[in-house]
């Protein structure tokens, strides 16, 4: 549960910001799916603060909580030959997996 909000890492992004999913090495355990790596999307919502799955997997309860976001991608950006320009996909990502994107 994300009760201890004061300990969190400051959230860096707001709804509407363009972000790119970082290409980080796969640690033993992650919930960041391969298909969104290096792809740029838009912050659709801020959800909650929590530990990252990587820290939870190692029982690092003292690790700092991070803001999570729902990020919206255009399907065309995930799969270049996707034929319907308006279709989208959303998934949730923690702050540390994202970097600002300008395009």
């Amino acid at each position: 549960m994300s009760s201890d909000k004061s300990a969190g890492v400051p959230a860096r992004f707001n709804v509407g910001d363009r972000v790119r999913v970082r290409e980080l090495p796969n640690l033993f355990y992650t919930r960041t799916q391969m298909y969104v790596r290096s792809v740029t999307g838009t912050i659709a919502a801020r959800t909650y603060e929590d530990l990252t799955p990587e820290d939870e997997a190692w029982n690092r309860d003292d690790a700092r909580r991070e803001q999570y976001y729902i990020v919206r991608f255009r399907q065309k950006d995930l799969w270049p030959e996707y034929p319907f320009a308006a279709d989208t996909l959303q998934t949730e990502l923690p702050d540390g997996w994202l970097e600002p994107a300008n395009n």
């Binding site: 799916q33 298909y35 999570y68 995930l78 319907f84 996909l89 959303q90 998934t91 990502l93």
Partner: protein, 245 residues
């Protein structure tokens, strides 16, 4: 009421005695054996198991159906659902912080309800495993957990929907929600025509499980989901090369 266990004396004439499987299967035995040994090894307690069984027996999609029907008839409630779904669930008797009445994994703490419009249709998947809003929808159907659904929905959502009999117009944006973190998601489908003046109870009947996952649309007269065989992975009609890993 007779205390006889003889099925011929069943008094409920509207529901004649159901046939039973009259032999003991290896799976029935295995389930009991594994559970008993796990309890004896201290992996969990019999009391925990009883509480979860009670909870698991009574959950189903009815709570989700009530939520949708209430949101359709009460715009203020719909606004509360979209703003804070966990709070709004309390009004229909579902407490996400205590679904079993005996504590719960933190996974259940976040819920977002996704509203369909005439130009936007949501469909939910968990590519990672099978995350699902169980306090509202009960246990996920088998196909939802199948690798086939999880792998293909994100790439070919329109084809997968077509396999469910749902052909979406190209004008409608399909938005796939991959629920692979701690938020759980449910679709608030659009209220269909032909339901004007219906009560919440009538409306709830057409809000089936599949309409809240987003693989079906509610309509007047449709009160049950189709049973769906699990498709073994088969080659979909490719609209892109298969080469990309």
């Amino acid at each position: 009421m007779s205390h006889s266990h003889d099925h011929d004396h069943e008094h409920d004439h509207e529901h004649p005695a159901a046939p039973m499987v009259e032999e003991i299967t290896d799976f029935e035995v295995l389930e009991i054996a594994v559970r008993e040994l796990a309890i004896e090894k201290g992996l969990f307690t019999a009391e925990d198991h009883r509480k979860f069984t009670e909870w698991a027996e009574q959950i189903g999609p009815a709570a989700g159906s009530r939520l949708v029907a209430k949101a359709w008839t009460d715009p203020a409630y719909k606004a509360r659902v979209l703003n804070d779904a966990v709070e709004a669930c309390k009004e229909i008797g579902i407490d996400w912080t205590e679904p079993t009445g005996s504590g719960t994994p933190s996974d259940y703490m976040n819920l977002r309800v996704l509203e369909d419009t005439p130009t936007l249709h949501h469909v939910i998947v968990c590519t990672l495993c099978s995350c699902y809003p169980r306090p509202l929808l009960g246990h996920s159907p088998y196909w939802y957990r199948s690798p086939n659904y999880r792998r293909r929905l994100i790439r070919w959502p329109r084809q997968v929907l077509a396999e469910f009999g749902l052909l979406m117009s190209p004008e409608v944006e399909i938005r796939v929600e991959d629920s692979n973190q701690k938020c759980r998601f449910m679709v608030l489908p659009a209220r269909p025509g032909g339901t004007e003046g219906w009560s919440e109870e009538q409306l709830a009947e057409i809000v089936t499980r599949d309409t809240m996952i987003g693989v079906a649309l509610p309509r007047a007269g449709r009160t049950a989901d189709d049973t769906r065989p699990v498709h073994k992975a088969r080659r979909p009609v490719p609209h892109e090369t298969e080469a990309r890993p």
